[in-house]
Amino acid sequence: MKRSLLINNSSVNFEVSTLDSSIVEFEWGGKKMRFEVVERSNDMLVLRDQNMQQYRMNLTSLPGQTLFVSGSGHDAELTEASSMTKKKSGAMGGLTAPMPGKVFKVLAKAGEVVTKGQTLLILEAMKMEHAIKADKDGKVKKILFKEGDLVQGGMALAELE
């Protein structure tokens, strides 16, 4: 199965041939990759490749369907490439967090009809408030965070339809 992922916001494409709870095989950049699960606990996974090299990986689920994987000398945020298209369109519409911060106030709710320029939520970052405004007339499909949530820069905060 062809798959596309974002690693630290850069996209990579590969084809998965085997995937079960103990083995994963995929072809990437003309190379066949094979990893077998050696050990796992709550948030740790030890993998072994075809050359018997072992990798100790630490896994953490983050908001926005992102998996934070740390190990083998690299920290990486991985997410489905499709969710990035959403992120991108959000970015164009300005419904993303301009920088890391805290959701200070949510002023609109799902289903609410809003007009262009209406403030949907207020983000508090670097001791300043940033209004996240509707980029068009429409209906709020979803507000993705609640008051007090911490968000990373670039994360989509709301969806309009």
């Binding site: 630290n8 709870s21 709550n42 948030d43 953490t60 983050l62 000398g73 991985l78 001791k127 911490l150």
Partner: protein
């Protein structure tokens, strides 16, 4: 006088650090916390903790009256200010001493003297301290300063005399650029320090930041605990520090440590201090400034000397005569410190925030992690971005670097983008390994320090881990976190 209870006017890792030394000496500790820090380990590790409420730093960790009030009511007989915050505030120091409480630090006079970049230079000049050619006077007339810059010879550095952290600083390469740079530096200095006085200095090319740790008691003893090199800096913020300094002759070490002791003796210093020098490729060194507090990077000195600097500070504050001899203080092996920060080097070093889901522990011998957070700590945007200090010790520099690369892998900050990978790239750079350190290392090697591309085979295990965790099946929550990645993997198994 015996100290029985210490109030720590600080937060995070340095508060934890002070608690540990106090505990080892049988001294009780009192912690302070702003509301948003209520769950940090420095709070629950202490014997007693008091809230400072919420609001700006002025209302919390810089609230002198409130802090002194808590010290009095809790019966603390001493205050340790840590670094930053009130550590170099002479007014606070005076206030504390006037209340009959011991300030664990230098005298207010020493803080005032060394806090003034112009005044401190004039003060130490008489102890035969090498000074960088420059102008440190009070004449701030633009035409006069321009003439002085020509006398010193370009390149010339303009610095705010009350400054720090690179604010109000300009490098001028030729006379024609001087006037505009002066204007910029002055307006920046005025904004940052409410004081637009500047000083001029000869700009040293390929400069190294070498500092000497001093420790003085109140019985006329002044010791040095050798040097630290802190040349790996980004925007004047230290990133990697080490002791001893690489490429450093024994003669230079002898001269620079003696100079630091001469200064401490000359100004009759008390407690822990750091004399900072700038050193050129010719190993000629010049006095920069003296920091009248415990430094962030003090652990590397502790690792090579085997001494507890906070413990020594407390003894000095209690009026004890230190049971030390200069000839007994040795610099054994090599220690390196990395500052792990919540910032994303691949995204303009922007600060990162969120929940620290898990903090890894060092597994190798002689590795020390100084950290003010625990699993589950929430990282906001209100404080410094430093997550922890990771320190390794080994018999040689090469081994200390190797050990640090492993230790960085051990000390995961799961869920928070940090500069760990960037630190690895710095440590693995051939020029760093060769000890070719200088303060322009990071900008000079910018291209070679870029992140590994996502297409790199090095990310294959990450992809495998992602696929195996079945993260795609995590339900689309309202930004909530799935409890563990294996919840979904278990689903795969069924």
């Amino acid at each position: 006088m015996k100290i029985k209870k210490i109030l720590i006017a600080n937060r995070g890792e340095i508060a934890v650090r002070v608690i540990k030394s106090a505990r080892a000496m049988g001294i009780k500790s009192v912690a302070l916390y702003a509301d948003d820090d209520a769950k940090l380990p420095h709070v629950w590790m202490a014997d007693e903790a008091h809230g400072l409420g919420s609001g700006t730093l002025k209302e919390t960790y810089l609230n002198q009256e409130k802090i002194l009030g808590i010290a009095k009511s809790s019966g603390a007989d001493a205050i340790h200010p840590g670094y930053g915050f009130l550590s170099e505030n002479s007014g606070f120091c005076k206030m504390v001493e006037a209340a009959g409480i011991i300030f664990i630090g230098p005298t207010p006079e020493a803080i005032v003297l060394m806090g003034d970049k112009i005044g401190s230079k004039i003060a130490v000049e008489k102890y035969n301290v090498p000074m960088i050619p420059g102008y440190h006077g009070s004449n701030q007339d633009a035409a006069f300063l321009s003439a002085e810059a020509k006398r010193i010879g370009f390149p010339v550095l303009i610095k705010a005399s009350a400054g720090g952290g690179g604010k109000g600083m300009r490098i001028v390469h030729q006379a024609s650029e001087f006037d505009e740079a002066l204007k910029g530096a002055k307006s920046e200095a005025l904004k940052a320090f409410s004081n637009d006085a500047v000083l001029l200095e000869k700009y040293v090319t390929e400069p190294r930041h070498i500092e000497v740790q001093v420790m003085s008691d109140t019985h006329g003893q002044h010791f040095h605990l050798f040097e630290r090199e802190c040349s790996i800096q980004r925007r004047y913020q230290k990133v990697i520090e080490e002791s001893p300094a690489p490429r450093f002759s024994k003669e230079t070490q002898k001269a620079i440590t003696q100079t630091a002791v001469d200064i401490a003796k000359g100004i009759n210093y008390r407690g822990a201090g750091t004399v900072e020098f700038i050193m050129g490729a010719d190993e000629k060194f010049y006095f920069l400034e003296m920091n009248t507090r415990l430094q962030v990077e003090h652990p590397i000195t502790e690792m090579v000397t085997g001494l507890d600097l906070v413990g020594l500070q407390i003894k000095v504050a209690a009026g004890e005569k230190l049971d030390l001899k200069q000839s007994d203080i040795r610099q054994n092996g090599h220690a390196i410190e990395c500052r792990i920060c919540a910032e994303d080097p691949d995204n303009g070093f922007l600060p990162t925030i969120g929940t620290i889901h898990k903090i890894g522990s060092p597994t190798l011998k002689d590795v020390r992690l100084d950290c003010g957070f625990v699993d589950g700590s929430v990282l906001g945007v209100n404080y410094d971005s430093m997550l922890a200090k990771l320190i390794t010790w080994a018999p040689t520099r090469e081994e200390a670097i190797t050990k640090m690369l492993y230790a960085l892998d051990d000390v995961v900050f799961a869920g928070i983008k940090s500069n760990r990978d960037y630190l690895r790239r710095l440590l693995s750079h051939k020029d760093f390994k060769a000890g070719k350190t200088h303060t322009h290392f990071i900008p000079d090697h910018k291209e070679e320090l870029l992140p590994t591309k996502a297409e790199s085979v090095e990310f294959a295990p990450h992809i495998a881990a992602y696929l195996l965790s079945g993260v795609k099946r995590v339900s689309k929550g309202e930004g909530t976190v799935a409890s563990t990645p294996w919840m979904t993997l278990n689903g795969l198994r069924n």
